[in-house]
């Protein structure tokens, strides 16, 4: 297994790291709670005491079946897209380290540099793809070029898709400013709100690999991967004095 150096992190990196941790926790927590509360409302909306209360107090029992379901799925996609860069920085992505472990220090550096190059290439392609996909939902031009962004496309009906919405989720009032920006009337949540995590996530993903590249060049890190998902837990057990 790879020996891990203690992380010498600056204040800025620590603060950002904490914010990211909290956001990841919040997204997962919200997914779980929304799904659970959904079950609760599904079982109670037809319940006689509830119906009686509804009549007496003249209100409707919240029905979140549709929007709860879609919202938790959006959060699910956000969690992964937002977190993929964070996982690079925490070296949590799984990989095969057989050859890496067979190599000596300089060999590992060669391998790490080559693999970070491939990762940067992938992240770059994803960044372009994400912008191309996202841009049309905010009425902005996408980029031309198949591999590299060679310029901005002509505006056409293809780039004017801001009217697309998620069919189940209502429009929250604090996002109504979007109506003015795009000149649409939204009674449902615009698709762009969901898709915005694509460009954000891929940029963070690319940035995380740039950081890895710098760290590899400075010999702070010799690989991008961890060999198995339980590495942290196992480390915690051996820290407690082992089995």
């Amino acid at each position: 297994m790879a020996e891990r150096e203690p992380e010498p992190e600056g204040l800025f990196a620590r603060v950002i790291g904490e914010i990211e941790k909290t956001l990841i926790a919040l997204m997962l927590g919200a997914m779980v709670l929304i799904t659970t509360i959904n079950v609760f409302f599904r079982y109670t909306f037809n319940w006689r005491p509830v119906n009686w209360l509804e009549e007496q107090l003249a209100f409707t029992w919240p029905d979140m079946l549709g929007w709860g379901y879609q919202t938790s799925l959006i959060l699910f996609a956000w969690l992964v897209l937002f977190g993929m860069g964070h996982a690079v920085r925490k070296r949590a992505h799984l990989g095969v380290d057989v050859i890496v472990n067979l190599s000596d220090r300089s060999g590992r550096k060669v391998l790490a540099l080559v693999s970070v190059f491939f990762c940067l290439a992938y992240a770059f392609l994803l960044m372009k793809g994400s912008w191309d996909y996202f841009s049309s939902f905010v009425n902005l031009p996408s980029t031309t070029g198949r591999w590299f962004p060679t310029g901005l496309s002509e505006m056409s009906f293809r780039n004017l898709q801001a009217f697309y919405t998620f069919d189940e989720i209502g429009m929250p009032s604090w996002l109504l400013w979007m109506e003015g920006v795009f000149g649409e009337e939204y009674d449902k949540l615009p698709r762009s709100v969901g898709y915005v995590m694509l460009p954000i996530g891929t940029v963070l993903f690319f940035g995380a690999f740039v950081r890895s590249l710098l760290r590899i060049l400075r010999d702070r890190e010799d690989r991008l991967i961890t060999s198995h998902e339980a590495e942290d837990e196992v480390e915690a057990v051996s820290r407690r004095g082992g089995a």
């Binding site: 990841i24 997914m31 938790s72 996609a77 057989v98 994803l126 996909y133 089995a243």
Partner: protein
């Protein structure tokens, strides 16, 4: 140095060669195209590129060179991998439930209960270890977490009463693989998502084989213990069984919530997973109090948790306590890495379906005249080899669509196929060089890899026998689901 440079050079050569000549050289032959695609994936993996990026980059290059697909649609499928697969959202929920349950307390109580039940047999502590693994497997969906939770306590305990460390590690390493066979199981969720088999049936199908595998292990330990005269514990009486059972009961009730909820028709599997996660949190924070505002003070030697009435505001603060955030974050991080692999494996799956590879493989296998059994042996070999490189869920997403249509053609029950795949994954986890459970056990027991491999190998033989039994006797897998849901209807 030489190995490293050679590996890197091969990967670069394959990719550059593909970019330069792929379009002209490969266009006529679908078989060749896919071979090159898999060569790209494997060469990238060997360099040390993350699995997810290896899958995604290879597929993206392939699509850009050989098809009309744009980068925008690849980004779209990345989003759709999560948004468009409502079944997969059960994975983070199961991971979270298992994270809350993995706090030392639950495993400890389950182990105490197991020892009270079966500790008095010859080799009792080892049998209890297997029993505890089975119960923990029913709470969590993954094998490594089962090994960590149970192994970190049981291996030390077994050594204390006079077992060898090798025996202890070998037993736990094997019993831990039950984590993916006994429902709930993350691997089964992925199989169901990849093949549109009902997840309820899949979970149901895992129960009988899971119990059978556990019993086989226990009987083997019993026989070995009689021969080798291993120490046995004292029978503490039914009182002890009920006492420990009641203490473990809060944790074990999770099984009732998940399985009872799904089969009672109360929850969908996704909802059951979410409710299980919330329940596990409440148990961990308010009943067992191993985490959160009510956990015992650091300086308290008796480690008694605080009663709720001393800190009633804990009812509110537990939800935002740092421990809760950390558990959510840990589960979230694991979710991110697993799902990112799955999302990229889905892109690769699209490539394979676009190229009509499943059909090509199906016809070539059928033309070669393989019967069902020969086919299943081939599947076993593919999975064992693939398991050396790939994370199980990613492997299933890629392999399942390839072999599923053939299995249907050959009249193999899809549920049966799923169980065979899962058992294969179990074996892959304890097969050197890259068995996941071997790594975890070696870390937890503080033993070198080679020693764990040797310690686990006799039990590996047992699991192989189990695989043969499960392969030849489909009834083990299909009886329960067919009894409860009626015969499987195959929709193509």
């Amino acid at each position: 140095m030489r190995v490293a440079v050679l590996t890197a050079a091969v990967a670069i050569a394959i990719i550059v060669g593909f970019l330069l000549f792929g379009e002209t050289a490969l266009a006529p032959s679908p078989g060749l195209k896919v071979t090159v695609l898999f060569l790209m994936v494997i060469s990238l993996l060997m360099v040390g590129v993350p699995i997810a990026v290896s899958l995604g980059l290879s597929s993206t290059l392939f699509l850009l060179v050989l098809s009309d697909t744009s980068l925008a649609s690849i980004a779209q499928s990345l989003f759709q991998a999560m948004f468009g697969h409502p079944l997969l959202i059960a994975i983070p929920f199961f991971i979270l439930a298992s994270t809350f349950m993995s706090t030392g307390g639950v495993a400890r109580r389950i182990i105490d209960f197991s020892i009270a039940c079966v500790g008095h047999f010859p080799g009792g502590l080892a049998i209890a270890g297997v029993f505890a693994c089975m119960m923990f497997a029913a709470l969590s969906g993954s094998s490594p977490s089962t090994v960590v939770a149970v192994g970190s306590i049981v291996i030390a305990g077994m050594q204390r009463v006079g077992y060898t460390k090798d025996f202890a590690a070998g037993v736990v390493c094997n019993a831990g693989t039950l984590g993916i066979l006994i429902p709930p199981s993350i691997v089964m969720v992925v199989y169901a998502a990849a093949t549109n088999v009902s997840i309820q049936r899949m979970f149901m199908a895992g129960i009988l084989p899971g119990i059978l595998a556990g019993l086989m292990l226990m009987i083997a330990i019993y026989i070995y213990a009689r021969v080798a005269k291993l120490p046995k514990g004292e029978w503490e009486g039914w009182g002890e069984v009920f006492d420990t059972g009641a203490r473990a009961g809060w944790g074990l009730f999770l099984i009732v919530i998940i399985l009872g909820g799904i089969y009672g028709g109360i929850f969908t599997p996704t909802e059951a997973a979410a409710v299980a996660a919330v329940y596990a949190f409440i148990i961990a924070a308010f009943v067992y109090r191993d985490m959160g505002p009510l956990k015992p003070a650091e300086d308290d030697p008796t480690r008694t948790p605080l009663p709720l009435f001393e800190k009633p505001y804990a009812l509110a603060t537990a939800w935002v306590h740092p421990d809760t955030r950390d558990a959510l974050y840990d589960a979230g991080k694991l979710t991110i890495t697993l799902l990112f692999i799955i999302a990229n494996a889905l892109i690769l799956k699209h490539v394979l379906t676009d190229e009509q590879i499943p059909q090509a493989i199906t016809s070539s296998i059928l033309d070669a005249g393989f019967g069902p059994l020969m086919f299943l042996v081939i599947v076993n070999i593919i999975l064992l080899i693939g398991g050396q490189f790939m994370e199980p869920s990613g492997l299933i997403l890629i392999v399942a669509p390839l072999i599923f249509p053939i299995a249907i053609e050959l009249g193999i029950d899809p549920i049966h196929l799923g169980i065979i795949i899962v058992v294969n994954m179990e074996i892959g986890m304890i097969t050197p060089p890259v068995g996941l459970n071997l790594f975890v056990t070696s870390g937890v027991a503080g033993m070198p890899m080679l020693r764990v491999v040797r310690a686990a190998s006799p039990w590996l033989g047992l699991l192989v026998i189990f695989l043969i039994v499960v392969t030849y006797v489909p009834e083990i897998s299909t009886t329960l689901p067919n009894y409860f849901y009626g015969p499987e209807v195959i929709v193509q």
